[in-house]
């Protein structure tokens, strides 16, 4: 059987990157996601990633599409 993880938890954060080593005044909002995935043995691994607002809007749109398709199934 093809093993693929199962999403068991998702957490998010809306943050503002204020400054960095390369930019004193960054002021960049972003969304961070933390996904917890359980493999077939029950072992949980974590994946986190960041999205800019534009990337997040695209992400949101994809989920809206997924939800719409699920309605039809």
């Amino acid at each position: 059987m093809l093993s693929i993880g199962q999403l068991v938890d998702m957490q998010w954060k809306l943050g503002m990157a204020v400054s960095s080593d390369t930019c004193r005044s960054l002021n960049s909002p972003h969304v961070s996601l933390l996904l917890k995935i359980a493999d077939t043995s029950g072992q949980i691994s974590q994946r986190s990633f960041e999205m800019t607002i534009a990337q997040f809007q695209n992400f949101y749109r994809q989920f809206k599409e997924m939800a719409a398709v699920l309605e039809t199934v």
Binding site: K13, L14, G15, M16, V18, S19, S20, D21
Partner: protein, 217 residues
Amino acid sequence: MSSHAKVAVGASKDSSFLGGRIPSEIEIMAKQLKDLDQEMFRKILKAVVSAIEGKDCREAMKAIAENAALPEERLSYVVAGMYRLLKEALRIPTSSLKQEVFKEDLRELRIPEEFITDFASVVFGNRRTALEAVATQQGPRLPSLKDFRWRVDVAISTSSLARALQPSILMQMKLSDGKAHRFEVPVSKFQELRYNVALILKEMNDLEKRSVLKIQD
């Protein structure tokens, strides 16, 4: 006869800078240098020094090997011997091994005089500091920090708190073995980190004055 002369001059030495037993690759190289022409010797020496500096010398070695005048086996003996000789000489600080002693030791090995001069110019010439700098980077070491980046973030809202309003610091370190570590540093831990960095700086400053850095042979 030559050791008698050395005693007369006032310098008494039992062994060469290479130790009591001359490494075999150096002895073999010494024999191979007998009727090697100086231009070829210098080409090989240049490639070997380049290799010691950590550069890629495959092209140079290929060009030398393709020169039909030198059979591959002989070339490999010369390269191995040169490499070992230079590495051994560069390991000893110039305060301990003087140029004249180095040259004398090479004469004992019956290396032709022009080649001795060429070897000495590598070990005691102006390329010495660069070669020592490369040697400092060698030896058993942990991966080193190659790149360090940081970002200061403020969490506005999370899945757990509608108004989190917490500052935090993101750090990313890239190591020399290719691994990257990305992590968050809470503000309290950052203060600890700052304190320890200042402490380390002070320790390093104090170390400069301590005798362990001043060992003289």
